[in-house]
């Protein structure tokens, strides 16, 4: 079978070369379609990655908290008795995740989980001179926390370090308080106040976070919030980001904690991303349909033009199957060559985008690349579509009566 399709390929190539203008036109059509598909896919992937990193970069994927305090209703009502109750919801005090020291290694061992970081979080005030700012305090173990939110990558000044009595703060807060790395400030909670030395400023990508965030060692936060040995929540990142929701559901069912995934906290972002993906899919599908129709129509014309040749080849002993395959191969070649040109065009468009579309600071808006897998996938789909588009014309070619074809 070393010469499988030998006849079909040679005749297909020759037919395509003979109808040069048609071939060039349809290949340009396929190339344009593939370029649009590849470029849009790359652009949207880049855009989503960018949005994703900006919003999720400073967030854990899954957060585990103790259950809310609830008022338990009094004993069950007597049958037939009506009971009127008015339950005031309880004020939620800061509580520790029960048993967190034993839960932590359990979570760490789960294959879906990439990193786990215990945290003590709560509100407070930062004081320096006459300035007072309300802040969100987070007591963490720096190495663990870094694995969850990549804190060290976000440092813009100073060196991240959380020895006892040290703190890392957001950039906006630093400018509000006039603090530089190495300066001291006072942290105040309801009951306790502590003085800390700022070691680094971080940019978390969101202004509001930068204005509030103060990160301190776990123990310091425990003492500030009077939660000795406790943590208020456990942050986790997932190996598969999109698996967070399912993982959270699973944890909720297994353990008596509140578990929330990023999808639940950022429902709007998720629906926006979904809408974007759906629109991209729609554009891709429509372009693909147009490409298929283009190839099919050109091949239909080609079959009509090549009636005599088909008849002669059939008289010379070419089977119906061989004639069908001649046209399928033509469709495949048009699809394959067209998609290769299209991928080159897409790369050019991406290059133009990164060269000329820039943000206010002169840096590219975001990174877009054409992943190899996407390129290969697009080329394959276009080629398969080329073959599919050729089915109807090919069957027409084969069903042609050789005697009639020759007589014309």
């Amino acid at each position: 079978m070393g010469y499988w399709l030998g006849f079909e390929v040679r005749v297909a190539v020759r037919f395509l070369r003979e109808g040069r203008l048609q071939t060039v036109l349809i290949m340009v059509g396929v190339a344009a379609g593939v370029a649009v598909i590849a470029y849009i896919s790359a652009l949207v992937t880049g855009l989503q990655e960018n949005t994703f990193n900006k919003t999720l970069g400073g967030q854990p994927h899954v957060v585990l908290r103790p259950l809310d305090d609830v008022v338990v209703a009094a004993g069950a009502a007597e049958p037939g008795a009506q009971r009127l109750t008015d339950t005031q919801p309880r004020a939620q005090r800061l509580r520790s995740v029960g048993n967190w020291q034993s839960v932590l290694p359990l979570l760490e061992r789960m294959p879906e989980v990439a990193a786990v970081s215990p945290m003590v979080g709560g509100g407070g005030l930062a004081l320096r001179g006459e300035a007072t700012q309300s802040i969100a305090l987070a007591g963490v173990d720096l190495d663990r926390y870094d694995r969850v939110v990549r804190l060290r990558e976000k440092v813009v000044a100073g060196v991240a370090s959380l020895a006892p009595g040290e703190a890392i703060i957001g950039t906006e807060l630093a400018s509000d308080l006039g603090v530089r790395p190495g300066d001291r400030m006072t942290l105040l909670t309801g009951t306790v106040s502590e003085t800390v030395r700022v070691t680094a400023l971080v940019d978390l990508g969101v202004r509001e976070l930068n204005r509030r965030t103060v990160i301190v060692p776990l123990r310091l936060a425990q003492s500030l919030f009077s939660l000795p040995g406790g943590v208020t929540n456990i942050d986790m990142t997932m190996v598969d980001v999109w698996g967070a929701k399912q993982f959270a559901t699973q944890l909720r069912a297994q353990y008596p904690y509140q578990v929330e995934s990023w999808q639940e906290t950022n429902a709007q972002l998720v629906s926006a991303l979904n809408a974007q993906s759906v629109s991209t899919g729609l554009i891709r599908a429509i372009v693909l349909v147009v490409v298929v129709l283009g190839i099919a129509s050109v091949l239909v014309v080609s079959v009509v033009q090549k009636r005599r040749e088909i008849g002669i080849l059939r008289a010379m002993g070419a089977t119906r199957g061989q004639m069908v395959r001649v046209f399928l191969v033509q469709g495949g070649i048009v699809g394959a060559v067209g998609s290769l040109i299209g991928l080159v065009l897409a790369l050019l468009m991406i290059w133009l985008f990164t060269m000329f579309v820039r943000g206010s600071d002169g840096a590219p808006l975001f990174r877009i690349v054409l992943p190899l897998a996407l390129a290969v996938q697009t080329a394959l789909v276009a080629t398969v579509c080329g073959v599919l588009a050729a089915i109807a014309p090919a069957r027409r070619a084969a069903s042609m009566d050789p005697a009639q074809a020759i007589r014309i």
Partner: protein, 255 residues
């Protein structure tokens, strides 16, 4: 070289062939009304008759390009009526060569590629030996210098000679020619006909030639005349005509 079939063996036999077009429609028309015809190996038959007498239809049926409405057809003893399209195609490939009046060559291929096309169809590739064989044939038809030319660069007579070489390249026992000289001037037409006779003499291939030209029919070994879908005349041609047509070979005239 030459077809390995012994001379005088029945090559094809048609029995009571009927052919209807547009069956069941108001314009239904029967073109062949039950004719029988046998061609033996080594024969050189002229098929003549007025236009519309069914010559081309008969030739297409013989060439397995069209199916008959009823009747029987055996090729080298094998009944081919029941074969499916693929089997008919394979049978056509192995047994039959065609020379047409118009549009005989594939314009996208050179003369040599046209001649080797049956090899490509059969095996998916053309070997060096195949190419040698094809070159030899093109040489024999006097086209050694035009092998790499495309059909539109050749004259009508040259194109027809390429078509003859192509029809013979797989050494089929039977070649069917539909007005092979129909659109050629007298000189080229003569040339092509002489070539057909020479191939017949040298290779022992049987020929069935449809022609309008009584001069050419007179130079065949046997004339079958079709009138209104029936055979009106089927007789050998007088020996002198045959001798004129291939004076150099000296082969014995047809029975």
């Amino acid at each position: 070289m030459g077809a390995p079939v012994a001379k005088g063996q029945p090559l094809i036999a048609l029995r009571d062939v009927r052919k209807c077009y547009n069956i069941g429609q108001p314009n239904e028309a029967e073109v062949l009304h039950g004719l029988s015809l046998q061609v033996d190996s080594g024969e050189f038959v002229a098929l003549i008759g007025p236009s519309g007498s069914g010559k081309s239809t008969l030739l297409n049926i013989v060439g397995l390009l069209e199916r008959m409405t009823s009747g029987g057809y055996t090729i080298q003893g094998e009944e081919v009526q029941a074969l499916d399209d693929t089997a008919l195609t394979l049978r056509r490939r192995s047994t039959l060569g065609f020379v047409f009046q118009f549009h005989h060559l594939l314009p996208a291929f050179t003369a040599l590629e046209n001649v080797t096309m049956p090899f490509l169809i059969r095996a998916g590739h053309v070997t060096g030996k195949d190419n040698e064989h094809a070159r030899g044939l093109l040489d024999a038809v006097g086209l050694s210098k035009a092998m790499d030319k495309r059909p539109f660069e050749l004259s009508g007579g040259m194109q027809q000679r390429v078509a003859i070489a192509r029809a013979l390249v797989l050494d089929p026992p039977l070649v069917l020619a539909d007005e092979p000289t129909g659109n050629l001037d007298t000189a080229s037409s003569d040339e092509v006909f002489v070539l057909l006779r020479r191939m017949h003499a040298e290779r022992g291939t049987s020929f069935v030639v449809v022609t309008h030209d009584p001069r050419l029919a007179a130079r065949c070994d046997r004339v079958v005349e079709l009138v209104d879908g029936l055979i009106a005349r089927d007789e050998p041609v007088a020996p002198p005509a045959a001798e004129i047509s291939h004076p150099r070979t000296g082969s014995s005239p047809a029975p």
